[in-house]
């Protein structure tokens, strides 16, 4: 492989490229069918039809009703709406919310904001593989608990959570259950009824759709206040002129993904296992963060002892390979990943962690190339390291 020109993207959990077919489907909604969905005239109604068609299709995939889906701009917005909207609308019942220690930053920091504003937050720990024990959730639920939020699968380590069980516990205790499915929507089967889900977050740009579109499923009858007040769009739950092109792209992305879902899942699993096997066989002092068997087929997080992740990621980048790291050095806050901390890793272990996330355009050749260049990089950095 020509390493000078070839760029290999292995950061699909961060975002994905937009499928050209999807862009094509979006185009008319920028130019010809540009109307505002709130307008009564034909331009507006054209856009409205496209919006409701997209909504109906997405709702069907979740086994939800059309009216239970609202569109937002991002998974972060959906998650913020859940935390703040549920807290605000249900504070007469109680002011206690439960999350886990490994949620995405938007839940972690949203919950912190609520805490600073008079709510109580319980943060459920995980085991060393990143799994939440449903019994811990059950024990943490109090009379005042109004929401439990547990992500479907973790973005850094890929571990899949037993959300159906947690959902059942919440249902029995009459507490609302939210799951952040940003990493799983489209990839794993989701049925909000069977899995006892009251609120669910999903995003477009993780499944080859455009950025700027996401959704929030809100079970009928759920009391929730909007984050954005205004003209009453999305049944008053999210005012803002509707981003029709992005939403059309979102539903199109799901349609395309669903067609090949199972095959693609298995293909990525094979590639991931090849990567794991190759790394373990060829590099000493390496561990896998999280759970190998019960994790997403496209995410694997390695820990290379004695060296630092940003340095590894940069050497890989020089070779044309794009990955991400949980090291503090690569973050604006200079704090190591809270997810890896929750696995009880030591700071020096967290700093040496690298996430590979595979996707639609990942090939076996690319994995071979990674396995070819990675051992040299690790040796080189270990030579420099005092550990």
């Amino acid at each position: 492989m020509d390493k000078k020109n070839k760029r290999i993207y292995l950061d699909y959990a961060a975002t994905t490229p937009c499928d050209p077919q999807i862009i094509k489907a979006m185009m008319p909604y920028f130019t010809k069918k540009f109307g505002n969905t709130s307008s009564v005239h034909q331009f507006g109604q054209e856009a409205r039809i496209a919006l409701e068609k997209s909504r109906r299709f997405i709702a069907q995939q979740l086994n939800a009703k059309r009216q239970e889906i609202i569109f937002t701009s991002s998974a972060s917005e959906s998650n913020n709406t859940v935390l703040k909207g549920i807290a605000s609308a249900n504070k007469d019942k109680g002011k206690h919310l439960i999350i886990t220690q490994i949620e995405h930053d938007c839940i972690i920091n949203g919950a912190k904001w609520l805490e600073n504003n008079g709510f109580q937050i319980t943060r459920i720990p995980v085991d060393k593989e990143g799994k939440v024990n449903p019994k811990d959730v059950e024990k943490s639920i109090k009379k005042e608990t109004i929401l439990v939020s547990v992500m479907h699968a973790n973005n850094e380590i890929g571990t899949i959570q037993p959300i159906k069980k947690i959902g059942r516990i919440c249902r029995n205790k009459r507490v609302l259950f939210h799951t952040d499915a940003a990493q799983t929507f489209g990839k794993l089967p989701i049925d909000v009824k069977k899995q006892n889900i009251d609120l669910l977050t999903a995003s477009s740009h993780k499944i080859y759709g455009p950025k700027g579109a996401a959704l929030l499923y809100i079970k009928k009858g759920t009391r929730i206040d909007p984050l954005l007040h205004g003209g009453g769009h999305e049944w008053g739950k999210r005012s803002s002129t509707v981003n029709i092109p992005a939403i059309v792209g979102f539903s199109q992305a799901l349609k395309i993904y669903q067609k090949k879902r199972i095959k693609e899942y298995q293909r990525l699993e094979k590639l991931k296992n090849k990567l794991i096997k190759g790394v373990i066989q060829n590099i000493p002092n390496v561990k896998i963060n999280g759970n190998v068997s019960d994790s997403l087929s496209n995410i694997v997080n390695f820990l290379f002892l004695g060296i630092e992740g940003e340095a590894i990621a940069m050497h890989l980048d020089i070779k044309g390979i794009a990955v991400s790291t949980g090291s503090a050095c690569s973050s604006e806050s200079l704090l190591p990943s809270h997810v890896l901390k929750a696995l009880n890793l030591k700071p020096e272990e967290i700093h040496g962690s690298i996430r590979f996330s595979l996707g639609r355009f990942t090939t076996e050749k690319e994995i071979d190339y990674v396995l070819h260049v990675l051992p040299e990089i690790i040796i080189k950095l270990r030579k420099i390291s005092p550990f």
Binding site: G306, I307, E308, E310, A311, M314, H315, I318, S327, A328, C329, S330, E332, L334, P336, K341, P347, E348, H351, K383, I384, S385, P386, F387
Partner: protein, 154 residues
């Protein structure tokens, strides 16, 4: 994000590795923050003055940490001890072109590690330690304690 010069030093660091029987060793940084630098010096003589005749580094850290370590070995090699003590973070940053603001602390660590290595040499050999270096050693020690306290939970 990183200048070409930073990346050059990162890709091909100068003077890295362990030194056998060093005259002085300086350590800076904290593993919790993700950077640990260890600097080894050998002290020789030139025109009746003590100079850093050889210097090596070992660093656990990010791109900037490795580049600043490499740069400080270049800057200090062959310098007299008083000259070497004049090398500060600004000299390191300037020599590398630029560093992202969030990474400036790496250049501080590099300068600190060098000062600590010289301190270690002077102390081990019962030589007079300049007052300013004594103060600097105290500050570095104190900062290490503060960081350890701050990140206790990690």
């Amino acid at each position: 994000m990183y200048s070409k010069k930073v990346l050059d030093h990162f890709r091909k660091p100068h003077n890295f590795g362990k030194m056998k029987n060093p005259d002085g060793v300086g350590k800076a940084g904290n593993v919790v923050c993700g950077d640990v630098m260890q600097l080894y010096i050998k002290v020789g003589e030139k025109n009746n003055k003590e100079i850093i005749s050889d210097v090596k580094f070992e660093t656990f850290g990010c791109v900037a940490a490795i580049a600043t370590s490499s740069m400080i070995t270049d800057l200090s090699k062959g310098k007299t001890l008083p000259e070497a003590l004049e090398i500060r973070k600004d000299n390191v940053v300037k020599s590398l072109g630029t560093l992202p603001p969030v990474k400036i602390h790496c250049s501080v660590l590099a300068a600190d590690a060098l000062a600590e290595a010289i301190y270690d040499y002077l102390k081990k050999n019962n030589k007079e330690i300049p007052l300013e270096l004594k103060k600097r050693h105290k500050r570095i020690k104190k900062e290490k304690e503060i960081i350890e306290e701050k990140y206790k939970g990690w």
